[in-house]
């Protein structure tokens, strides 16, 4: 990336701010390094573990729906002061998460949101024509199922508990977790189906 490009300008601006704040003793470089490393280490597999556990353990599911943060911590996933609401898909209701005002996302649990989640198109349209938007992801929600959109714009953060896919009876929890893709935790896709070699 050449320094004359706009990407170079952002890079220089970021570096200058960081350098000055370090020079003044406001922050230490190691503190920023630690935040970057911690964020890099978070991804959707943390949420997937919670989902898989909820699929096999109804008591855990009840605790997760009552208190998302406590349920994450119960299985060793640190999320800090996150206010996590887990919304459950049922045969009657399919949940979809959006933030129309910026891009609020449970980063402390799932890491950074995908680019589409931050796009103006998703933010603007998910509240108004959720089925059309989901169709662009290749996801069809039957007409008889109500869609519940959650506009995440304040202090809570949201994760979808998807329906357990058919044909996964008897699959161990660790394999169930592999079926839980990132987007199904936002509600724009469904969990993967087990492959022919599985189960």
């Amino acid at each position: 990336m050449s320094d004359s490009s706009s990407a170079g300008e952002y890079r220089r601006l970021q570096a200058a701010i960081e350098e000055l704040l370090i020079l003044k003793g406001v922050v230490a470089r190691e503190e920023i390094d630690a935040e970057v490393a911690a964020m890099d280490a978070r991804d959707h597999t943390r949420g997937a573990r919670m989902v898989a556990r909820a699929w096999v353990d109804p008591a855990y599911k009840a605790r997760m729906l009552a208190n998302g943060r406590a349920a994450a911590e119960e299985i060793g996933i640190a999320v800090g002061p996150l206010h996590l609401i887990v919304v459950e898909n049922t045969p009657e209701v399919h949940n979809v998460i959006v933030c129309t005002l910026c891009s609020c996302y449970p980063r402390a649990l799932l890491g950074m949101p995908p680019d589409w989640y931050k796009s103006a198109a998703y933010r603007a349209r998910a509240v108004r024509e959720p089925r059309q938007v989901l169709a662009e992801f290749g996801t069809t929600i039957p007409d008889g199922v109500a869609i519940r959109v959650h506009d995440s714009t304040a202090d809570m953060r949201y994760m979808v508990l998807p329906l357990r896919p058919a044909g996964t009876e008897g699959l161990p929890e660790v394999e169930l977790a592999r079926l839980v893709n990132r987007d199904c935790l936002v509600g724009t896709r469904l969990p993967d189906r087990p492959g022919p070699g599985v189960g």
């Binding site: 701010i17 000055l20 304040a154």
Partner: protein, 224 residues
């Protein structure tokens, strides 16, 4: 990101970031690796917020202040531009210092003006008890139909509409105050309000049972 959305002419005070219900075309599904500078900007924002040197709502306010250029920038470009404003606004670094740092050709660090002391505005003194919640789950409420300037977290599309309290989320410092470096206390009750989508959007063409839940602070709600 291209700006295809058109804002209704009547809503002159609708901020550029408040886009729920507008049309911005197809959702771009391609994902990109975050640039290093974006990761560091994000990490820096966490560090500064943890040290209580700035709030998330200040970041949002500055992002929203980008005006017409908002949609020309990508997400982390907006965030970086916001943080450049915050560190100056907070007195953590001066605009002049940043200017020298970015000068072409570079100005040697030794010629920087004397470094100021870092300030800690020590924002919130969370002693004041939170305001007691006025509404209970199941109560019918209406969102105020108002267009106050400034940083608010109540999207346009739900203003003036009636819904039902889904739950009380607790009490939180008022973001409309946090954005301006005031403590936002006492903490104000926050609710999740459930609306029928077809009542929010007159032309709603999907399932009539579809709903939308959104968090609304109490001072935006009246009994319906």
């Amino acid at each position: 990101m291209a700006a295809n959305g058109e804002f209704p002419e009547s809503a002159v005070l609708r901020s550029v970031h408040d886009i729920g219900g507008l049309d911005f075309g197809a959702v771009p599904l391609a994902d990109h690796e975050m640039a290093d500078w974006a990761k560091r900007c994000n990490g820096l924002s966490f560090v500064l917020r943890r040290k209580r040197l700035a709030t998330l709502d200040e970041q949002r306010r500055h992002v929203e202040s980008l005006g017409a250029s908002y949609h020309q920038h990508e997400y982390f470009e907006r965030q970086l531009l916001a943080w450049a404003q915050i560190v100056i606004d907070r007195g953590l670094i001066s605009s002049a210092e940043l200017g020298r740092m970015l000068a072409d050709p570079p100005v040697p660090l030794a010629t920087l003006p004397p470094l100021g002391r870092a300030v800690n505005p020590s924002d919130a003194a969370p002693d004041a008890p939170p305001t007691a919640a006025r509404f209970r789950p199941g109560d019918r409420v209406r969102v105020l139909k108002a267009e106050p300037p400034g940083h608010v977290r109540t999207p346009y599309y739900c203003r003036g509409h009636a819904g039902m309290i889904e739950r009380v989320c607790g009490a939180f410092p008022n973001p409309e105050e946090l954005a301006y470096r005031r403590p936002g206390l006492p903490a104000t009750p926050l609710y999740r309000v459930r609306f029928l989508s077809r009542e929010l959007w007159p032309d709603y063409a999907e399932n009539p049972a579809d709903t939308l839940d959104i968090e609304i602070y109490e001072h935006w709600l009246e009994a319906a």
